[in-house]
């Protein structure tokens, strides 16, 4: 179409107030986190600090042990993402490309889990991890999170693999490849979009998970970032400069990472959610 697009200025002007409301909480926290306790107490959210109090961040970091919380969260995310891919890719391949009796039933059994919220099985899950000696262990939480994510991951990988033409499988078979080789040499190199969607979705949900860590991780040294921040914020709930700077420490890294990778991130998230 050759018709000129109308100027987008009016639309932008209408969206600006919405932007302020949506992003305002972040800006307010960042500005307030650099104020002194006295400046916060003055109760003027629109004022800027006379002097930027970076010391708030140093104090929050040390008192809240954020280094250890971030480390635990990273281990947790790495564990869940790796295991999810290792478990879901082969199973998704089997359900998409191998014919065997009862395949539909196996698929339905997995899909059933997609509907059951984790809170609804928390009592036996806690008891089970307790019997396995995995309460208060990051590994226990990691295994529970992987299992919780299997239905979605498997569904995603399966629907992607189903789109790969059978001719490729046949050709590889004639060359004498077994299923494991077909999966690793033919399917996995082709499935970069599905893998990155699964990676992004499971990494973000694990990094942000609260319920399972809350139930399973008791000692502060083993806790993950959201849980640690909640504990920190309720312990120092009258010390606003600490709560504010601790909160900023928690959300800023992910936001920066997102802005740097936003195109890929958005693509993966949308495709993953729509496929699933």
């Amino acid at each position: 179409m050759s018709r000129r697009k109308p100027s987008e200025l009016p639309a932008v002007l209408m969206l600006l107030p919405v932007l302020v409301v949506i992003v305002g909480p972040f800006l307010w926290l960042i500005v307030s986190s650099l104020k002194t306790e006295r400046e916060i107490g003055r109760g003027d959210p629109f004022s800027f600090p006379a002097q930027l109090m970076w010391q708030n961040y140093i104090d929050a970091w040390n008192i809240g042990n954020f280094g250890s919380l971030i480390g635990n969260s990273l281990i947790n995310v790495l564990g869940v993402v790796t295991l999810t891919l290792l478990v879901c890719a082969p199973a998704g391949y089997a359900l998409a490309k191998i014919r065997f009796p009862g395949r539909e039933w196996v698929f339905y059994a997995f899909i059933f889990g997609l509907t059951i919220p984790v809170q609804a099985v928390i009592i036996p899950l806690y008891q089970l991890l307790s019997n396995l000696g995995m309460i208060n262990s990051l590994w226990g939480v990691t295994l529970a999170q992987v299992s919780n994510g299997i239905p979605f991951g498997l569904f995603l990988m399966r629907s992607f693999f189903m789109g790969v033409p059978n001719e490729l499988t046949e050709a590889a078979k004639i060359d004498g490849a077994n299923h494991f080789q077909i999966l690793t040499r033919v399917f996995l190199p082709l499935s970069q979009p599905a893998i990155s969607a699964l990676l992004i979705i499971s990494a973000l949900s694990t990094w942000n998970d609260f319920f399972l860590p809350l139930v399973m991780l008791i000692s502060p040294g083993n806790q993950t970032l959201p849980l640690g921040l909640v504990r920190f914020a309720s312990t120092y709930n009258t010390d606003f400069r600490l709560v504010f700077s601790g909160t900023v420490i928690t959300f800023l890294p992910v936001i920066i990472l997102y802005i740097l990778t936003q195109r890929r991130f958005t693509e993966g998230l949308t495709q993953g959610a729509l496929k699933g």
Binding site: E8, M14, L19, V23, P25, L29, I40, G43, D44, P45, F46, P90, A94, L95, K97, I98, F100, E104, V106, F110, L114, I116, P117, Q119, A120, V121, I122, I123, P124, L125, Y126, L128, L143, N148, I150, P151, F152, L154, F155, R158, M162, F180, W207, N208, F211, L214, V215, P226, L229, V230, V243, T247, I255, Q262, T266, L269, T270, A273, L274, G276
Partner: protein, 313 residues
Amino acid sequence: MTRLTTTADGADLRAPASARRRDGSRDGFGAAFVLMLPAIALYGLFSLTPILFTVWISFTNSGGFNTEASFVGLDNYLRAGDDPIVWQSLGRTFLWLGYHVVLAGGLGLVLALAVSRLSRTRVFFRTAFFLPHLVSLAVVGVIWANIYDPFYGLISTALTQIGLGSWNQGWLSDPLLVLFSVNVASSWQGFGLYMLLFIAGLQNIDQSLYEAAEIDGANSWQKLCNVTLPGLRDVMTFVISLAMINGLKGFATVFVMTNGGPFYASEIITTYIYRLAFQAQDHGLAAVLCILMSLLAIVITVAFNRWRARQAA
């Protein structure tokens, strides 16, 4: 997936078409079993078994972890029926779901429509509007508890500064307001994903339909009602089901901001389950609520899949 989470719980449950089609391999069971073994083992142990045990626990008088329990028949179900907090938390859960669908789903739709009209500033607005979704709901709870703080919070100080101090409410202490206030925090976090899904849906609408409508002399409002919204029907049902499931799973913001208070005014099913299971150690009653919650999730999922199937037909 809280799973972002939360992701795809409105999944399509129709039978896998390829199961009936002839496809590549016929050998079988052995290879498939080996490839599925890790998934079956983990999922069986940590997901399926706990579902069965939850059903069992609901028929026992279990009074805590690592304790003996005996069969008590339907006792817990009768107790649940007599417990006013069960009924109240159930009602609040439905209200909570409704708020989330309207606030987060509605905002997601409106912003998707607005952002899609932009060209040069589109990526900027899409990125900025999505930022809250990156924050853990627990952290969102901490942030909004401070925003609502009656003395130092963003809302009360901002209102006072611009001379509207009398508009201040007990956002988290007024029993009539608290559930809505907390839901605003959850929806602030949740709408970004719905917006992205709507944007993807808008991109899939055939552009020639708009051109045809223009030739017929349709104005923007008519185009919205007759082309855009019908074109979004699929995504819309998906987003509504996803938002309902996400709402049903909502826990962290309530737990962090009010812990169900004041006087159970913001107690929803998940926070009540947590209280019964880990504080009151009343596992029998908690298990009944767990089953109820699962049934709600199943009903929502199945109903929306039927609806989508009917739309497709």
